[in-house]
Subunit: 181 residues, 2 copies
DNA sequence: CGTGTCATGTAATCAGTTACATGATTCA
DNA sequence: TGAATCATGTAACTGATTACATGACACG
């Protein structure tokens, strides 16, 4: 089974809700979806051109934004169709590479304080993520409570919350276990 | 900051515990570490050659295994040093792409039964993973209880267990919420 | 008038997968 | 003898990141 490019579906998915410029898409993904999705400029812009060539999106220059060249993309019927078709396909399981877990597995090769420091950094980063997530949930709750897809968005934030909490739990108990030895 | 190849450290880490052939390494990673790490043949074999060229591993043909050409790799002092140095470096946070979560976020575009079916498949796959994990933990417990690195391995299985459970919890409550609507 | 942000993009490189190729050994 | 497994590898491709390049506009 050939691996299909997934960036395109993230893009089509975003455009299925609202029209955006490339820049806005990048921002949006980083802000509201970075808990489970990442895109870089170097994939986004070429992909938008490709999708336009394939007729799945169309674009025009936004004049209201002044002289600044801002190209707004919108999804086409063909794009919607491609998106819906993909949504019906079986989900491929991602393969993970958890660098921190690998380092823990090799714990005998580094000083315990250093390993504890890694775990501590990990927790700090997770707590920061958690803070951003709570802000986001709050923002959606107060500013976008009427969005028709809000129930679905909420489910994705549930996911982020549960995973972050699980990682925090693990890190905490791992620190305790390591200190107990 | 340039991204460093991580496969090499997974390989060096494995060889830091015991000598293996390429084939055995692949098997071992798939069996005992696939919860948090994945390697493919097409990366493993070239990487082993490269590491040998760099003097981080050395190899010899295993004669005891008969006429079959089995090349056993072992880590060198230089390899150990490289590994230990990497272990001290800050951990880079992986960027995730959760296809299922993306599909849930776009739930308004597909029939509810189909979305529920995706979640159901997800749970089935997680339960299978859980089963494999329990077997593995059991195996380590009964066959390798004296391994000096067992405490560290246990911590990695704790991680797998917690993450799998968190995903199962989310999937379960997501199915319930979707059905309630 | 200079720093930060808005805005779009490319080149070079590296990472990683899929599919294929080859051949020996084991065992039913 | 033919299927399964052991064993090692390559070619072609796709995915993804990093770093760089360019320029306009906003605002203090």
């Amino acid at each position: 089974m050939k691996k299909e490019n997934k960036s395109q579906y993230a893009i089509l998915g975003l455009l299925s809700k609202q029209s955006y410029s490339g820049y806005e898409m990048k921002e949006k993904i980083n802000k509201i979806a970075h808990f489970h999705w990442a895109e870089s400029n170097a994939q986004l812009y070429p992909m938008l051109k490709q999708l336009e060539k394939e007729g799945k999106v169309s674009s025009h220059i936004d004049l209201s934004s002044g002289a600044r060249q801002k190209r707004i993309y919108q999804i086409t019927d063909l794009g919607i169709e491609a998106l819906k078709n993909w949504l019906l396909q079986p989900v491929e399981q991602p393969q993970y590479r958890e660098e921190l877990v690998l380092k823990v597995a090799l714990g005998e090769h580094l000083p315990k304080e250093k390993l504890l420091a890694h775990l501590n950094d990990y927790m700090i980063q997770l707590e920061e993520k958690n803070r951003l997530l709570n802000n986001m949930v709050n923002h959606i709750q107060t500013q976008h409570s009427k969005r028709p897809d809000k129930p679905y968005l909420d489910l994705t934030y549930d996911y982020a919350k549960i995973i972050i909490q699980a990682k925090l739990d693990w890190a905490k108990q791992t620190i305790q276990k390591l200190q107990a030895v």
